[in-house]
């Protein structure tokens, strides 16, 4: 594929890995450098291309909280299912959300029990369904960081413009800075730097991350989603240590502008307001970490239109996702890992999506230790 193959070139990868090996030599005071990729998209790239097996043991990647599917708490999934089960409702959702377990079941199971749950690829498709079915009330399950929030906002603006009254949005949009702060505030934090989320940054830009080096003394490199992007970002982080620098850098400058996307930011402002607090799976309640619809969009706000259970379901006590997300615990150190919590019956956020740290370790754990022989065999 033009403009994609270039970022997947194995020869360039070998050069980058060599550079990483040189720069990371000796680790950081004898222990490996630990860098967190915040975004689930990066985690996916890392697994999809087998990047962890390419890295020297002096560099360790810690999988962060940026998988929008994983961070939705069970109570909100229960609310979504309650919405889907209301008579006359067509409940629309991105495919990834359909399998995420609530306290009793998932949307996929609700669909099997008779709820009209439909998978859409864009909120605009949900709006189309509403326009085509005027006798139904169509609800869109809006999830995601600042990456997907603008498309929800555009859809709401269109709904208002076209006077579509049978369409509403159940907003679960979240913002990236609060969980990042929560992780940085953790007393048992053991991270040396961050790979910044590329897609979120196309919207919000790089400025919101300045506090990471300034207040917490950790470098952050915003990066893209091709495997070479990730390797180059690791090089850039290590280079900062080599140079004695600590700053926000932009590896993804072919897409991300420092000031973000002003148009997207404007429509976000127009449609959404920041919630005082929001619950995150694994991270607890974080202040000002999520987006609700503004009062002027009340007529399209599912939270106002429908009576929702709104019951907070506590994360299972034994689940230690929070610690895993912060890099304080390894997945296998969690009490329920691999027993009560497996990819088929996930308890915590890290096991829910295949991109979660625990799901990945569950699948790849053994491979990590066989990797050296494999690498030797294939080189």
């Amino acid at each position: 594929m033009k403009f994609v193959d270039e970022y997947r070139d194995p020869a360039a990868a070998r050069v980058a890995v060599r550079r990483i090996t040189e720069l990371a030599d000796g680790g950081r005071g004898g222990v490996p450098y630990a860098f967190m990729e915040i975004c689930g998209g990066h985690t996916h790239t890392i697994y999809r291309h087998g990047i962890e097996q390419l890295l020297p043991e002096t560099v360790e990647l810690v999988h962060g909280p940026g998988c929008p599917v994983c961070v939705i708490p069970m109570g909100r999934v229960d609310d979504a299912i309650a919405l889907a089960e209301q008579p006359g409702v067509v409940f629309t959702s991105f495919g990834d959300m359909m399998r995420v377990p609530g306290s009793r079941s998932s949307l996929l199971e609700a669909k099997a029990r008779g709820a009209d749950v439909r998978m859409v690829y864009s909120p605009l498709d949900a709006l189309k369904i509403a326009q085509a079915n005027p006798d139904k009330r169509v609800v869109f399950f809006a999830v995601g960081f600042e990456t997907t929030a603008p498309s929800t906002a555009v859809t709401l603006l269109r709904a208002r413009e076209a006077g579509v009254t049978n369409f509403s949005v159940f907003s679960n949009h979240v913002t990236i800075v609060p969980p990042l702060t929560a992780i940085l505030d953790s007393p048992d934090l053991r991270l040396d730097g961050f790979l910044g989320p590329g897609h979120v940054s196309t919207v919000i830009g790089n400025r919101p991350y300045q506090f990471v080096p300034q207040r917490y003394g950790k470098p952050l490199v915003t990066t893209g989603f091709e495997p070479l992007d990730v390797l180059q970002a690791v090089v850039m982080l290590l280079q900062q240590f080599a140079d004695g620098r600590c700053e926000v850098e932009n590896q993804y400058n072919r897409v991300v502008a420092d000031e973000g996307n002003p148009i997207a930011l404007r429509i976000l402002e127009q449609v959404f307001t920041v919630r005082p607090h929001f619950e995150w799976r694994g991270l607890g309640t974080l202040a000002r970490s999520a987006l609700a619809l503004r009062g002027e969009f009340a007529a399209w706000d599912a939270e106002r239109l429908f009576d929702l259970p709104g019951v907070r379901v506590a994360d299972p006590k034994a689940c230690q996702c929070g610690e895993v997300l912060k890099g304080a615990l390894k997945p296998w150190e969690c009490k329920v890992f691999g027993t009560a919590c497996t990819p088929e019956t996930p308890i915590g956020t890290c096991m829910v999506s295949s991109e979660g740290a625990c799901a990945a370790y569950y699948t790849f754990g053994r491979l990590h230790r066989t990797a050296p022989t494999l690498a030797a065999a294939s080189s």
């Binding site: 594929m1 194995p10 990868a13 070998r14 890995v17 090996t21 030599d25 000796g26 680790g27 004898g30 222990v31 975004c39 689930g40 998209g41 996916h44 999809r48 291309h49 087998g50 962890e52 097996q53 390419l54 020297p56 043991e57 002096t58 929008p68 599917v69 991105f94 495919g95 990834d96 359909m98 399998r99 996929l108 199971e109 669909k111 099997a112 998978m119 859409v120 690829y121 995601g144 960081f145 990456t147 897609h199 495997p227 390894k330 296998w332 890992f337 691999g338 027993t339 497996t342 990819p343 088929e344 699948t363 790849f364 754990g365 053994r366 491979l367 066989t370 494999l374 690498a375 294939s378």
Partner: protein
């Protein structure tokens, strides 16, 4: 390079214990915990396997069924062997670039017989029709079946028709069953697979799944992708003539080559090591999969086979496949290894390695 202590090992070797436990758990067939059937149970991954094990195998258990192959191989008192297979077709839309539910209903069952090592001979066809289906459309689909059957050299010799209320089915569902004759002396099976064997595919992966997904029209994506639906009987004969030592054959339909390789690794108790760069994928299919966040390894094919052949027959097998119009893009995509047992590994084009696991559910697109 100065060595670095990895994170201090657990004093009691707990990581090892946890990994052992996970491994033991992974080796178990998936367990059915769901209370209702969901679409994931039909996707060909772990959920399908759990349903088949817990509900069907449990009730029907017998020696012919137990291997859970594409078809059962049955011995007649005369010593001759038959392969017997059945499949239902519910594809939506009913017509897509490259085929229709009619041609698919013939090819799918013919191919299940062919990869069981049989020469397909006879099919049955049963129709569940929703009231309101235009007769002209039904006739056209049946004409597709007749043409596909003639092309595949099989006769449709018995059938059934049921009509259900509007809304009780989606247009028409077709079930075909097929019988084929297994030539004397022919043996295929996972127990014959040995470390060092080569893994071949007969062409590009994912064409059918992507063609149908795009034909559904809800993606606003356009690409020139046709379903590969085709009968594999001839190709199998060509392959077996050139590589008589062929160990194992499957057609990677639902769940794609990733799923059949997992079944192979589990049934043969070996590792399947694939090279990503060697897996043939059309550009348009690869592009659509990239956009949708789907791995072409898990996307369905309807006119392709996966073969395990002894390493020394791999060249002859590949040449034979490539000499047939249905195998022009055939490729050697990997090898069988002794370890890690029951695992499918992929050496990525980028130079890394990853595990190709069984899918937990449908390959639903990612949102970010």
């Amino acid at each position: 390079m100065t060595t670095v202590d990895p994170r201090p090992p657990a004093p009691d070797g707990r990581q090892e214990l946890v990994l052992d436990r996970v491994e033991a758990f992974r080796r178990r067939r998936p367990r059915l915990t769901d209370e209702v059937v969901t679409l994931a149970h039909g996707a060909g991954g772990k959920a399908s396997a759990a349903l088949v094990d817990a509900v069907f195998l449990e009730a029907f258990r017998n020696n012919a069924l137990e291997p859970l192959g594409d078809g059962a191989v049955l011995s007649l008192p005369s010593g001759e062997r038959l392969a017997f297979s059945t499949d239902s077709y519910v594809v939506k839309p009913r017509r897509f670039p490259g085929g229709s539910i009619g041609s698919l209903a013939v090819h799918g069952t013919v191919n299940d017989l062919a990869v069981s090592g049989a020469r397909p001979c006879w099919l049955s066809a049963a129709f569940v029709v929703e009231e309101g289906l235009p007769v002209a459309e039904l006739s056209a689909l049946v004409a597709d079946m007749a043409e596909a059957a003639a092309h595949a050299g099989v006769a449709i010799v018995t059938g059934d028709t049921k009509v259900v209320d509007k809304g009780a089915a989606d247009g028409v569902y077709i079930t075909t069953a097929g019988v084929g004759i297994v030539p004397a002396g022919r043996r295929l099976g996972p127990e014959l697979v040995r470390p060092g064997d080569a893994v071949l595919v007969s062409g590009t992966m994912g064409d059918h799944g992507v063609a149908v997904m795009l034909a559904r029209g809800d993606l606003d994506l356009e690409a020139d992708v046709e379903s590969d639906t085709a009968p594999l009987g001839e190709l199998v004969e060509v392959l077996l003539a050139a590589a008589p030592g062929t160990r194992w054959l499957r057609d990677p339909t639902r769940g794609g080559v990733g799923t059949v390789c997992n079944e192979l690794a589990a049934d043969a108790g070996c590792a399947v090591v694939l090279q990503e760069a060697a897996v043939p994928v059309r550009r348009a299919v690869g592009g659509a999969c990239d956009l949708l966040g789907i791995d072409p390894l898990y996307v369905a094919n309807e006119g392709k086979l996966v073969a395990v052949v002894p390493a020394e027959e791999a060249c002859a097998a590949l040449a034979a496949l490539r000499g047939h119009p249905l195998g022009a893009d055939a490729a050697a995509i990997g090898r069988i290894a002794a370890e890690p047992e029951r695992i499918v590994l992929l050496e990525t084009s980028f130079g890394g390695t990853r595990i190709v696991d069984m899918l937990v559910g449908d390959p639903l697109p990612r949102i970010c």
